[in-house]
């Protein structure tokens, strides 16, 4: 069975072609880091696969089926900056949103739903912050709330856009522990990641992306200096020096 299969995918923003000729097949139970320079199309790839942005061509299948039929099994953690953290709501409520699809139309979250959400918050070490207004959380805490929301969805395949950006070491560890736990529970996780130094520690698979897929495979086979150089081109130099 295939978890996620992408064939000949291409996408653009108006005339500006951002992705072309994207082909890959994701191994069930893998934890993949999606790596590439700014503007490489990493976020766009996630959005196109989730049909949040139209594709120009290509086919994406989830669990040998379509996204529409398997939505419940697919979880998405957008970039933290994509929402308004001044929205009048608290952490628990944001986590509950992960259940809105399951709860269905015309129903309100039940007590049981709230317990599930609290449990997910607790797993992310955020139990004490359930009632906290979201603007009064630190960036790392906000990211943990987002992760808790993904956990509560109980999906089989997760997409996460830069969950480790702007968080401190403790939160980074907490998030990576969670991702590894998801993996050992048999879930498939794809994470947009920026820090080249931690790739080998964190991910068993790597996707090197720059407008198309440069390489995709097991980290120890694919994450080589040459391939990374190919992906980042000239921009890599200052990253290594830094």
């Amino acid at each position: 069975m295939s978890v996620l299969k992408v064939e000949d995918l291409s996408a653009s923003y108006r005339k500006n072609k951002v992705l072309s000729d994207v082909n890959f097949n994701v191994k069930p139970g893998s934890l993949t880091g999606i790596i590439g320079p700014n503007g490489a199309g990493k976020s766009t790839l996630l959005k196109v696969m989730l049909e949040l942005h139209p594709s120009l061509s290509g086919k994406v299948s989830f669990f040998d089926s379509t996204l529409a039929k398997t939505k419940r099994r697919v979880g998405y953690v957008p970039q933290r900056g994509s929402v308004d953290w001044d929205f009048p709501t608290n952490a628990l409520d944001v986590v509950l949103m992960g259940l809105y699809g399951k709860i269905g139309w015309f129903k309100w979250p039940s007590k049981q739903d709230k317990e599930l959400a609290l449990e997910a918050l607790a797993q992310m070490g955020m139990a004490d912050y359930a009632d906290r207004q979201i603007s009064q959380l630190s960036g790392g805490q906000q990211q943990r709330v987002f992760l808790a929301r993904a956990l509560v969805q109980d999906a089989d395949l997760y997409f996460m856009d830069e969950p480790l950006v702007g968080v401190d070491a403790a939160t980074e560890t907490a998030i990576m522990t969670t991702l590894k736990r998801l993996k050992s529970a048999g879930k498939t996780v794809m994470v947009v990641h920026h820090d080249l130094l931690t790739v080998e520690d964190y991910f068993d698979h790597v996707m090197l992306l720059n407008r198309t897929i440069v390489e995709y495979g097991k980290t120890d086979e694919v994450f080589t200096k040459d391939n990374v150089q190919k992906t980042y081109g000239g921009s890599l130099r200052w990253m290594k020096e830094a």
């Binding site: 049909e51 929205f87 009048p88 699809g101």
Partner: protein, 292 residues
């Protein structure tokens, strides 16, 4: 009911409907869109009149829904072609509004549909235009339509409460969960349109924007909970509408103007006094923090 009673009831209905819609307007960062729709529904009303040659509230309502949706669709379309969001709104609404004004001036002749009335509203006329409702008897038409619109707004907001919340807070997650974000956007624009046009008689096209935006903005300053913000905004809307009426009769001036003025005063009070964001709390907060 007394003449004044009808006016106060109408004003209160405007306050609640606008207050509730306003909360989502500002949280969706669509205040500009409210301004746009309040102008373009004029075109809808005129067109409805030209087609049906009737000046009933129901025709206006349908015309306004169509005009409001057209505004939303055109704005979306221009934006998708690469025009900035606020520029698209500006272009679409001024153009549609201009067409409306030209049509009023040239086509409608001497019918009672003047620009002045549509723009400024005249709540004092409301009790005179009545209709016969079974069981209730003679009821001012504007008041009746407003009650229906308020009922629709409340039902839609409550029935889809969690969907409004999630599409407002995180549209990407909503879409990935299978919630029809775009459809909800257009339903929302429809609700804004009918609220706007139903409020026209009472406050007019210009002041309705104040009723939509300011009470909600004031409510936002007092609370961190969406449900409380909705209630507060409705309360502020009613207070401004009724307060405005009394201010107007006290100093004998424009009623719609006074209502908008009252929303401003409420906002100012909130801005200075609110516990979380206000001026005063800024000096008190360190003390409470120290106690924790």
């Amino acid at each position: 009911m007394s003449y004044e009673g009808w006016i106060l009831l109408t004003a209160a209905l405007v306050g609640i409907s606008c207050g509730v819609m306003g909360v989502f307007l500002i949280l969706r960062r669509m205040a500009m869109m409210a301004d746009a729709i309040s102008h373009t529904v004029l075109l809808g009303i005129v067109t409805a009149y030209l087609i049906t040659r009737e000046l009933s509230g129901w025709h206006m309502l349908v015309g306004a829904i169509i005009a409001g949706l057209l505004t939303a669709v055109f704005v979306q379309w221009l934006h998708s072609l690469g025009v900035q969001q606020d520029a698209s709104i500006g272009v679409v609404f001024t153009t549609l509004f201009a067409i409306g004004v030209i049509m009023i001036a040239t086509k409608t002749g001497n019918v009672h549909l003047d620009v002045q009335h549509a723009l400024m509203g005249e709540i004092t006329f409301v009790p005179w235009q009545t209709m016969e409702i079974p069981l209730l008897g003679e009821v001012p038409q504007a008041t009746f339509i407003l009650s229906i619109v308020l009922a629709i707004v409340l039902v839609m907001i409550l029935a889809f409460y969690k969907e409004w919340k999630i599409t407002t807070f995180d549209a990407a997650l909503a879409a990935s969960l299978g919630i029809p974000v775009m459809l909800m956007h257009y339903v929302f624009m429809t609700l804004v349109s009918i609220t706007t046009v139903a409020s026209f008689d009472a406050v007019g096209a210009i002041m309705v924007v104040a009723m939509l935006i300011t009470p909600a903005a004031a409510a936002y300053l007092w609370t961190d909970k969406l449900s409380i913000m909705l209630v507060l905004s409705a309360v502020f809307g009613v207070l401004s509408a009724i307060g405005g009426y009394y201010i107007a009769s006290w100093i004998d001036t424009s009623i719609s103007g006074s209502m908008a003025f009252a929303t401003g005063i409420l906002f100012l009070i909130s801005f200075i006094g609110s516990p979380r964001h206000g001026f005063i709390s800024r000096y008190i907060r360190p003390v409470t923090l120290a106690k924790e």
